[in-house]
Symmetry: D2
Subunit: 347 residues, 4 copies
C-alpha cells in the first residue's frame, strides 16, 4: 500500500502514521517528493484496507498495490483450474453449454427441454426452482418440486444439473438434487450464502453482480474458496450501465481480463446479458471469442408461454443453431490464454 500525505501534513502526523504502520508489523518507506510526501508499506498483512489510513489526520489518500484476493489469483496458482463433474470437464479445452429454462415450470417442460438441449450439445441442464424475482407478485418457482423435476430430467437425458440457491438454509436441500450450485447476480455479495456454499464440496457457479467490479467478483469467489471449496466457476452475465436498449451490458473485456487475473474457469450468460432473443447468439459468439469457456443459455420449448424471461429464451431448435455458430467461433480461438502472446501469463 502507498499512503499519500496532504500537502500541509505535519511532522507529528507523519510520525503517527509511521507508528500505526509499524503497529501492523509493516515497514514504512518514506519518500519526500516535491509536492507530496508518500509512504510505501512493505510486508504482508492480509485484509488490511486503505480506509484504515484514509481517515487519519494528514492523509490525503491510501492506494492499494496488491489485489485483495489471494486464493482466486494467478499469483497463488498459475495454471488453470479444471473442474470435473461426472464426465464433464469445465475449464479445459472443450466449450461447455449449460442450457434450460429460466424456471422449472412443470415435469413435462423440463423433460422436453432436457432431451432437446442434450441433443443440441449441452452437457448441463439449468432450471430455477427458487427464483429471485423483482416483484413479490411474479412466479417464484416450484421450490423442492422443481428440484425433483430438474434432477429427474437431468438423469433421464444424461445431463448434469445446475440450479440457483438463494437462502443459506436451502443449501443442503438444493445440494441433494443438483450437481452445481448457482449463486445469482443479486446474491453475489450475500456473504452468508457464499460462506455456506463454500462449506459444501459442490462446484459453485458464481454470477457477477449487476454492478460488481471485477475485484469484488473475485473477492466473492475468495469468500467461497476461503471456506475450502475451490471449485468456483465464474459467470459474466452483463453489468448495469446507463444503456437501456439492452437489459444489461455484456462485459467481454472482463472475461478476457479475468482469464488473466484468475485461474478459475469463466463462462458467460448471453441471455441475461442482452435480454433479447435476437441478440443472444451474437453475444454468445462474442463471449467465446473473448475467452469464455462455456455458455449459460436460456432455452424453453415454448418461449411465448414461459412464466419468466420468455423474451430472452431460445427455442430448442434455435439453441441447436446457436451451438453450431458458436462452435465455429470456438474453433478459431485457442482455449488456453496462456498460449497467447498478448497474455501476460504467456509462457
Amino acid at each position: 500500500m502507498i499512503i499519500v500525505l496532504q500537502k500541509e501534513a505535519t511532522e507529528k502526523q507523519l510520525q503517527d502514521i509511521v507508528d500505526k504502520i509499524k503497529g501492523y508489523g509493516l515497514e514504512p518507506h518514506v519518500i519526500v517528493g516535491v509536492a507530496r510526501t508518500v509512504i510505501g508499506l512493505v510486508g504482508d498483512k492480509q485484509g488490511l484496507e486503505p480506509r484504515v489510513f484514509e481517515g487519519m489526520p494528514g492523509v490525503e489518500k491510501a492506494v492499494p498495490i496488491m489485489a485483495p484476493y489471494k486464493l482466486a489469483s494467478r499469483d497463488a496458482k498459475a495454471e488453470d483450474t479444471l473442474i470435473r463433474v461426472g464426465d464433464t470437464l469445465i475449464g479445459g479445452g472443450e466449450l461447455i453449454y449449460m442450457a434450460g429454462p429460466c424456471a422449472v415450470e412443470s415435469r413435462e417442460q423440463i423433460l422436453e427441454t432436457a432431451y432437446a438441449v442434450k441433443e443440441a450439445g449441452a452437457s448441463i441442464l439449468r432450471g430455477g426452482a427458487f427464483k429471485p424475482r423483482t416483484s413479490p407478485y411474479s412466479f417464484q418457482g416450484l421450490g423442492e418440486t422443481g428440484l425433483q423435476y430438474l434432477a429427474e430430467a437431468g438423469q433421464a437425458a444424461g445431463l448434469l444439473t445446475v440450479s440457483e440457491v438463494v437462502d443459506p438454509s436451502d443449501v443442503d436441500l438444493v445440494s441433494k438434487y443438483v450437481d452445481i450450485l448457482q449463486i445469482g447476480a443479486r446474491n453475489m455479495q450475500n456473504f452468508a450464502l457464499l460462506r455456506r456454499v463454500g462449506q459444501t464440496r459442490k462446484p459453485v457457479l458464481l454470477k457477477r453482480g449487476l454492478s460488481a467490479t471485477i475485484e469484488e467478483w473475485l473477492m466473492a469467489a475468495e469468500y467461497i474458496m476461503s471456506e475450502g471449496n475451490y471449485q468456483v466457476i465464474l459467470c459474466e452475465r452483463g453489468i448495469r450501465t446507463f444503456e437501456t436498449a439492452t437489459r444489461n451490458t455484456l462485459d467481454v473485456g472482463a472475461i478476457a481480463l479475468v482469464r488473466q487475473l484468475s485461474h478459475l474457469p469463466v463462462v458467460a450468460d448471453p441471455s441475461h446479458a442482452t435480454g433479447r432473443r435476437d441478440l443472444v447468439v451474437p453475444a454468445g459468439c462474442a463471449a467465446v471469442a473473448a475467452g469464455a469457456q462455456g455458455l449459460l443459455v436460456e432455452v424453453h420449448p415454448n418461449p411465448d408461454a414461459a412464466l419468466s424471461d420468455g423474451a430472452q429464451s431460445l427455442t430448442p431448435k434455435q439453441f441447436e443453431q446457436m451451438v453450431g455458430a458458436v462452435a465455429q467461433v470456438a474453433k478459431s480461438v485457442t482455449p488456453e490464454p496462456t498460449k497467447y502472446w498478448w497474455n501476460r501469463n504467456a509462457v
Copy 2:
C-alpha cells in the same frame, strides 16, 4: 401496458397477441398508427410483466404504464406513513438521527458512543454485529455478543437501536435485541431475507442497493409489505456511478422523488454516500434539504482506531456540530412535502 408492434407484424401475429391479452382477462385496445400499430391493455393484472409479451413474434416492445409496486405507492395510501418506536416518531415533522459506529467493537466503545450521540441529539443507536464485508479477511463483527452490547448501550443511554441482519435464519436472534432491523444495500434484493423480515412486526430500515433503481427499491419495500409488515423506512445511501472521487453518489433527486411516489418515510446515510469524513456534513445537509426525514450517521469515539470505515466516521464532537448545522437546514424546509406547491400530491 402498451404493446408496440413491429412495422412488419402480420394480422396473424396481431391476433395471437390480442388472444393472449384476453387470456389474462384484460381488454385490448388496438390503435393503428401511421408507422406502427400499438395495443393498449385495459384491466388490472398485478405482477404482469412487459417481458411476457416482448418475446412474441411481431412485438417490438411492451411499455408498462403503471408502477409495479402497489402497497408502497401513494396510489394505495395518500398520507405519509408514521412509524412509532417507543417515544420516537419516524416520518413525522421531527428529524431523526440514527448514529453510532459502523461495527460494535467492544462494550466500552458502544457505551461511550451511545452516551455521546444521545447527548448530541440522536434518538437511535446504530452498530453492526453481523457485518457484510467485501473481504473474507476483514473484521466480520462480534455477532450475538455485539447485539448484547448494543442493546445494553441503548438501554443505558436511553436510545432505540438498529442493527443489520444478513441471514434469514438470524432474524429472530437480531429481533430479540434491537428495535429496528436493517437490510443493507448489498441485500436489498435478497428476497428470502426481505420476506423473512416482512413476517416480523419490527420496523425495517431498508437501504437502497448500490445500483438499484428507485422502482426496484420500492419493489423491495413491497416484498416486505406484502408479508404484512408495513413499517418500512427507506434509506438512500448513495448509488454506484462512474465517479470514484467519492465512495458513492448521494442521489438527492431520489429522496425528493420517493417522497412523492411513496408514503413511506425516507432517511439518508451521508457517511456511506460519500465515504469521506469531510463530506458527511454537507451531504447530510443536502439530504435534509431535499426532503430526508432523518439521517444515519457513523460516529466513533476514536475513528482512527476503528476496525471498519473509520475514514467516514465522525467523532462525537463532530457529530454534535453536525446536528447543529443540519438542524438549521431542517428548520428552513417544510417537513411535509404535500404542503409544497411543487409536489404533485400538494393539496
Copy 3:
C-alpha cells in the same frame, strides 16, 4: 407517442392535452383504463419530443413509440449501406482494418507504421494530427504537418487515410488530406461539427460517445445525414461504466443491436475500449464475433516511446498476429446479419 395521465387528472386537463395534440395535426386516441387514462397519438410529426407534453398539468409521463432517427434507421432503408472509398468497400463482406498510431509523431514513425500495417492486412491508415487530450499540458498533435505526413505515408504504402477533426473550421483542411473524417467520442454531440462534416461528401467515421446511448449515437449519425452526407461509419469504442479495471467497457450488444436497427456499417475500436495491449486481441475478436464489420486498432512501431496511448498500442508484429486471429473468427461469422434467423430483419 403515448401520454399517460395522472390518476387525479381532471376533465379540463385532458381536454387541454387533446387540444395540444390536435394543434400538432395529430389524432388523439383516449383509452380510459382502470387505474390510468392514456392517450395514443396517431400521425407523423418529426422531432416532436415527449417533454413537450410532460410538463403539462395532468400528465404523468409521455412515452415515445418510434425511434427519433429516420435516415439512419432500417425503417427508412432496409438493405445494408456500402461505402466505397477508392478500392475499399466498407460494410460489405470483407473485414476492414484501420490501423496506425494514436498520434502522428514524425514522418518516419508514420511511414514505418504505414508499410507495416499494409503488410499485415490493413487497408486504411489512422493517425491523429489534432488530438483531443484531457490535459492541456499533454502532446496535442502536429496539426497540418501531421496531416501531410499521414497523407504521404498513406500514398506511399497504398493505404487510405482517416484522421480526427475537432473544430468545424478545420473540416476543409482535414478533408484536403484524408479520405475519411473521424468524429471522436468526446465530440459525438458537438452538433456544429456534425453539421459541418455532413456538408462534405467525405465518409465520416462516427465514434460513439463515452456515455452516449445507442439512440443518441444514431441521432448523431442523423445530424450528419440530415445535411446530405449518407456515408457514415459507426464505431463502437467502449462506454464509461463503474468498472475501472479496463479503460472503458466494450459494448458488443450495441454492435449486434445497431446492425439490426440501422443500415449503416459498424466497426469497433478494441484499443480504446480496453486501454490495455493485452486485451486488444480478445476484445477485437469479440467485436467481430458480435457483428463488427471492421476494426480500428492502434499500432505503433515502438509503443513504449509513444507520445500518447502507448499502453494500448500493438507493435506491427503483434498487429499482424491479431489480423490472423481475427480473420479466423471472421470466417466463422456470416457477415450479413440479415441472413441470421435471430435477426429481426432476416429474410
Copy 4:
C-alpha cells in the same frame, strides 16, 4: 507517480523503467516489497501521464499521486476566487441566481421573463440562442437574433446575461452580446472551444459533462485557465447514471468536494439535474445546502408552450417561491467552506 512492477518483472525491465524515469529528469525511488517492487517518482513533470509507463514490459500499473490540474487547484491558490461582473460578485457570500428560459423564443418571451426573474431576485438572465439539441429536427435556437433579444432584455431589466456558445467561430459573436459565456455539458471536452473561450476575458460558466469525472471537469477548467482566462464558474448539472426516473443524478458530493479541491466558484443547475419541475426546488435546496454558491434555473412565462424543456421549467411565480425557499437554506449554511471544521482547508 508510483509505478508497480509485475511479480515476474526482470532486473533488465526494472532498469529500463528506471532509465526512462531519469530521462524525464525525475528521481526514481525503488522499494522492494514482499510481493511486488514499486518505484516512486520524485520531481515535477507537468502533464506526465501514467499511461506512458503502463505499456512498458514489467509494469503492472502506474498510479498518479498528484491531481493533474494545477491552476484550478487549491494547491495553486488557497483562497476562493471571486468573479465580479458588473455589480454582481460570484463566489462571494451572496447566493447568485441565473434564471431564464432554455431557449430565447421571441422578444416578448425573453423580455417578460427578464422582468419577472429580476423581480424574484435573479441577477443574471440566461437564455439559449445556439441550442445543442439531440435531434436535428428539434428547434435549434434563434442564433444572433436570439442574442440580440437576450441582450436587450437584460439591459431593460437590469440583469447580466449568460448564453451558450457551441462553435469556436461563434465566440466573438456571442461575446459581443453577453456577459458570461456558457460551455454546455456536451461540449465540456470540446477542447478547441475551451481554448477559444480561454482566449477571451469573459467569465465562463463551465458545465460538468454528463459523464465527466470531477478530475476531468477540473481539467476542462484548466484548459480555459491555461489560456489566461481565470474567470471560470463551475456548474454541476447532474451526471448520467443507471437511474432513469430523473433526467440526470445531481451530484451534491461533487459540489462539496470541488469546493475543497478548487478555489473556483461552484453553482448548480437543478433544472437539468432532475428534468422535472416538481423536483427543481428540493434539488436546488440540496445543492445550496451542499455548498453551491449559485443556481441556474429554467424559468418560462408559459412552460407548457415552451419550444424546449418546458417539463423542467418553472413559471416566474414558482421561481419566486423557490428563491424564498432556497434563501432560507442558504442562511443556514456558512458560505465559506474554509470556516467549517470538516473542511480540510479549514483555518
